[in-house]
């Protein structure tokens, strides 16, 4: 028995929708079977909470008197992009201050950057704005130093070109030296293996063929309601998939946006990766409407049926060498150890399963209380048969 978005939203408005998180639904399907469970369940909530570098915020700081067309701008010493109209700025998550020692003393600590500015704004802290301009007849002002606060900004919204990676590599180090990567610090000679996905809770792993998540999908972003506005950069749906259609490796990504004024600082966290740089840890929740049995089958995927490739980050990854050192399931990764080249290797996550589960439960509550309605995508994301391919620079 198929359902429509409209029917599900009517049930949500009446407070009658049956909502489960992506962990709970696994058990229900096991107990009742797909057919019965699909009749019962209206929505499955998915979520993830992890570092997502390709993120940033547009802010409009408001006009000064006299007016200024900002050419260069810094927020708490971190460069913001000003190549836009007069007082529009974009602060990118990975930007570091001009005077940051970076990796000159390796490994650098990268204690503050664009992601921390974004967190501070959301936390309601004052942020120091410094700006310069060349001056024009209509915008004569050339210098500005001011304190800005999110409550006084005209707009402040996250606009992230690539979030929510469908799946990801497991990073290991085959070299005899420690390496410092965006996947964390990895000890030499297969000292540890770092993974980064919420597995069975992660949004695009529960909708592997993008049947419900698309452009226009309303999502939970950092505590606010946001939207998927495009496929993310490097969206690569054509890669290898398992029999369950779940990609084995990177694959799909989402571009998302949402109002920072509604967000909460605990879900948008400035993050420092030793020896690598600054990134933004983001909480995202996405509801999946159970329109039919097939969608439920995908949404009840389990950790043991989701596989990630093990990749050497000391040489293979930086040098674009294809292939991997094997595949492991998220059930194995979450057990604390995996086997790589016959050696037992301890695992660490970079994405928090615990926080992802909290988000899935918050979203579940909001839907049950009628505060969060589902939206039908206005356009599908490119799927496995799309022609546009993710390719390297030639």
């Amino acid at each position: 028995m198929a359902k429509t978005y409209q029917e599900i939203n009517e049930k949500i408005k009446k407070g009658k929708a049956v909502v489960l998180n992506a962990e709970e639904v696994i058990k229900l399907v096991e107990e009742k079977g797909l057919k019965k469970a699909a009749e019962e369940v209206d929505v499955v909530t998915t979520a993830t909470f992890g570092p997502m570098c390709s993120s940033g915020a547009f802010i409009n700081v408001g006009h000064t008197n006299p007016k200024m067309k900002i050419t260069k701008a810094w927020l708490n010493g971190v460069n913001a992009y000003a190549g836009l109209a007069a007082v529009d700025l974009y602060i990118g998550a990975t930007e570091i201050p001009d005077n940051d020692p970076a990796n000159s003393k390796h490994p650098g600590s990268f204690s503050y950057g664009g992601a921390h500015v974004i967190h501070d704004l959301i936390a309601g802290k004052d942020v120091k704005l410094k700006a310069t301009a060349y001056g024009t007849d209509c915008y004569p002002r050339k210098e500005l130093e001011a304190k800005i606060n999110i409550k006084n900004l005209n707009e402040a919204y996250l606009c992230n070109p690539r979030n929510c990676y469908q799946n990801y590599n497991v990073a290991v180090n085959l070299s005899p030296k420690p390496i410092y990567t965006y996947m964390g610090t990895i000890k030499p000679n297969l000292g540890n293996a770092n993974y980064c996905s919420a597995g069975q809770l992660s949004p695009l792993l529960n909708d592997p063929l993008y049947k419900t998540i698309g452009i226009g999908t309303r999502i939970w972003l950092g505590g606010a309601q946001g939207y998927v506005y495009w496929q993310g950069t490097q969206h690569a749906p054509q890669g290898e998939r398992g029999k369950n259609d779940v990609p084995i490796g990177g694959a799909g990504t989402l571009a998302v946006a949402g109002d920072m004024k509604q967000m909460k600082p605990e879900w948008i966290v400035g993050t420092s990766m030793q020896g690598y740089g600054v990134t933004l840890t983001i909480g995202i929740g996405i509801p999946i409407p159970i329109l039919n049995e097939e969608i439920l089958k995908y949404a009840s995927v389990k950790d043991e049926d989701i596989f990630a490739p093990i990749v050497d980050y000391s040489s293979d990854y930086p040098n674009c060498k294809p292939g991997n050192l094997g595949k492991v399931s998220y059930a194995e990764l979450k057990s604390g150890k995996i086997s790589v080249q016959g050696k037992e290797v301890k695992t660490s996550g970079m994405s928090s399963y615990k926080k992802a589960l909290e988000i899935a439960n918050i979203l579940k509550k909001e839907i049950k209380e009628g505060k969060f309605l589902l939206s039908e995508p206005v356009q599908k994301l490119p799927g496995p048969d799309s022609k546009e391919r993710f390719k390297p620079l030639k």
Partner: protein
């Protein structure tokens, strides 16, 4: 039995004496080295936990003092900021004693058992959100 965490500083002229060996042998103390910095011709630093009877510990400390070792109680402590920790588990593989560990494999919550912490500070630079801190 009592345990005391001490910071010992060895002047360079005693560098060749088997002071710690005698401390253990003569006073029946159990020790656990938390941190050691020894370089030739320089003052040596040893952070250790001594365990034994009150009487033996007192005698041991007096022996160290007689050998010109300066002693300070260790007031350093590694603490986790519970509001900052996201339970990502990045620290777990870097903690050599399992003080930072996965409490429950179903929820993947990261626990912190201070009694196992040897103050090596390996967790501090690898924590992406700066949740691990040294307190003095």
């Amino acid at each position: 039995m009592t345990s005391k965490r001490l910071v010992l500083k060895f002047p360079k002229e005693v560098g060749d004496k088997p002071i710690v060996y005698k401390l253990i042998k003569n006073f029946d103390l159990v020790f656990n080295i938390l941190k050691a910095q020894v370089s030739p011709e320089k003052e040596g630093l040893l952070v250790m936990e001594l365990t034994g009877s009150d009487n033996d510990i007192e005698k041991g400390i007096n022996y160290l003092k007689d050998n010109k070792v300066t002693i300070q109680p260790l007031e350093k402590d590694i603490a986790r900021d519970e509001n900052k920790c996201t339970h990502c588990s990045a620290c777990v593989v870097h903690c050599p004693t399992g003080a930072l560990y996965i409490k429950d494999r179903a929820t993947m919550e990261v626990g912190f058992d201070k009694s196992k912490c040897i103050l090596c500070e390996a967790c501090i630079p690898v924590c992406p959100v700066g949740a691990m801190k040294t307190n003095y």
